[in-house]
């Protein structure tokens, strides 16, 4: 069963004349790692809200077409039921944290699933460890820095152990080191869940692409509410570059796409060192 299936999906918010999303057809198979990107205001976050049922249940508006998450039609499935399969980490951690301690926020989801206390404890431990904030367990979310709040918000979703994880700009508040770390942890988590027998689908809505690139199986570009590109990461990025869609193509690729033909480069370099070596010496003869 596909993790996500959208059929001719359109949505506009109440009071808005513009369609935030129009005519989207999209299937994401179970186990994929997908980036959804596109210019600011293109409808990325709206798409994420649909996948979790927040649209149409919490955001009033007009929804046309169909949206299924693991076969559940989001139109007539309660958000609480979708939440057992799909967890979303919002752009703004303030929207996610509401109790007086990080521990309580992280335990909130599992408590609402009516899990036994020792299982809740295990999940809280695991979630805090996965994002590296065990030391903040008893802190008040209000006293944390922006980046720490973001990590707490992610932990509060991981404790639900969802099959589909949707992240809306998860690293926006994090320093470069923590960002790289978090992304690595997300995909390690995915791998370890898969080794334990369950597939996990990861959908990330992000402007920052560089850190994610090596983990992705697919990139989807949304522009002005429409799905304009969809495919393997490198092809999509090159196409965005050629068609001038303003997404954050990593600097190394910005240069690679411009010089590859002129310089006969066949494979994109991963680091600045590699780029310069390729330019200096050309492609190595035997791979």
């Amino acid at each position: 069963m596909a993790a996500v299936e959208l059929r001719k999906l359109s949505f506009r918010y109440a009071g808005s004349e513009r369609w935030a999303l129009s005519n989207i057809d999209l299937v994401v198979e179970d186990g994929e790692s997908v980036l959804i990107t596109g210019p600011s205001g293109c409808g990325k976050s709206t798409l994420a809200r649909i996948l979790t049922g927040l649209i149409p249940h919490s955001y009033p508006g007009e929804l046309e077409g169909e949206a299924y998450v693991f076969g559940m039609n989001v139109k007539d499935t309660p958000v609480s039921r979708i939440a057992t399969r799909c967890g979303i980490v919002f752009q703004n951690p303030d929207n996610q944290l509401f109790t007086f301690s990080v521990e309580d926020d992280v335990a909130f989801g599992p408590e609402n699933l009516a899990l036994p206390p020792d299982e809740i404890g295990r999940r809280v431990d695991e979630a805090l460890r996965l994002v590296g904030i065990e030391h903040l367990r008893y802190s008040s979310p209000n006293s944390l820095s922006g980046g720490e709040q973001q990590k707490a918000a992610i932990a509060s979703i991981l404790s639900m152990r969802p099959f589909l994880l949707v992240f809306d700009e998860p690293t926006s508040m994090l320093d470069p080191f923590s960002s790289a770390n978090l992304i690595q942890r997300i995909f390690e988590l995915k791998k370890s869940l898969e080794e334990a027998g369950g597939k996990t689908t990861v959908i990330i809505v992000e402007h920052r692409i560089d850190l994610l690139l090596k983990y992705l199986s697919r990139i989807i570009v949304v522009s002005e509410g429409r799905l304009v590109l969809d495919g393997d990461p490198l092809t999509v990025l090159e196409e965005s570059y050629r068609s001038g869609i303003p997404i954050n193509i990593p600097p190394i690729l910005q240069i690679y796409f411009r010089v590859k033909e002129k310089c006969g480069l066949k494979k994109p370099p991963g680091t600045v060192k590699e780029l310069v070596a390729l330019l200096r010496n050309g492609e190595p003869k035997n791979g």
Binding site: N92, G146, S172, F177, I252, Q254, R258, K262
Partner: protein, 274 residues
């Protein structure tokens, strides 16, 4: 013009056991472009809020043009030093985008004619014309960020502190914000940018103040500091792309214009042109 002087600043939040900032002394003056960098929780935002009097030192002092922030109202400081919060929603309260921009202007006694003209100007600079009558909370993440900056920039403060200006921005908008901040710098205004985006910081700021666990571990030329690998690692940062490229190629003076860089590189490594 404005001068901010920080002396032996210690700051502790009321309920906290530890100091969020320790023993900070620095001066930021007219026309400077400063990046405040450091890992999550290092104290960057806390320092910024001390610089504009939103927070008052627990010990030590912050003086703005020689006057201790303890003796200045937040509004009075805001006229000189604008602060753009990292979370735009913390800043919004009006029901229309235009009212968000008008609010500060009216409070600072601009005439209605000036208010009208300025609103038009800043909304256009930030690409928000079409949202003029929309509710700020209905904007997308990136649009909210632009409005937050626009509504502060409107009254042209002498110094501007921007907390994480690139969050939620696509490439075109980042270039747009960069252009705006650079033009402020070239007008001789002081621009202080708190960011994790080292490439963005390097494209605007000459000076960097690097914080780690509430202390300044580096204060000086941005390029020099971010070339120091030990320091960069300690602060959970990374070297800016262009700096790395310059070091690897020996070509200097690169600007973030990929057409330009690509042609320079292709030219420099002629071998690959054949």
């Amino acid at each position: 013009m404005v001068e901010i002087a920080v002396e032996n600043l210690y700051f502790r939040y009321p309920e906290a056991l530890n100091y969020a900032l320790r023993n900070i002394s620095l001066r930021i003056g007219e026309g400077e472009s400063v990046a405040i960098l450091g890992e999550n929780g290092a104290g960057k935002t806390t320092l910024a809020k001390n610089l504009n009097g939103l927070l008052k030192p627990t010990e030590g002092s912050v003086k703005i043009d020689g006057v201790d922030t303890r003796n200045l109202s937040v509004a009075k400081i805001a006229r000189k030093i604008g602060f753009v919060n990292h979370n735009p929603e913390h800043q919004f309260f009006a029901e229309k985008v235009e009212d968000e921009v008008k609010f500060g202007l009216r409070n600072f006694g601009f005439s209605e004619e000036e208010v009208e003209k300025t609103v038009q100007e800043v909304l256009s600079v930030f690409g928000l014309d079409e949202y003029r009558y929309k509710n700020p909370f209905q904007l997308s993440g990136g649009e909210k960020k632009r409005l937050a900056i626009a509504s502060i920039m409107a009254w042209r403060p002498e110094a501007l502190i921007v907390d994480e200006p690139t969050i939620g921005m696509d490439y075109a908008q980042k270039l747009n914000i960069r252009k705006v901040l650079r033009s402020l710098v070239s007008e001789g205004r002081c621009v202080i940018v708190i960011t994790h985006d080292v490439d963005f910081a390097a494209s605007i700021c000459r000076r960097a103040i690097i914080l780690s666990r509430g202390e300044v571990i580096g204060d000086g030329g941005l390029r020099e500091l971010l070339s120091d690998e030990e320091l960069v690692e300690k602060a959970s940062l990374r070297k800016p792309f262009l700096l790395e490229l310059e070091e690897e190629t020996g070509i200097t003076g690169l600007e973030e214009d990929f057409d330009f860089i690509s042609s320079i590189l292709a030219e420099a490594f002629k071998k690959c042109r054949s």
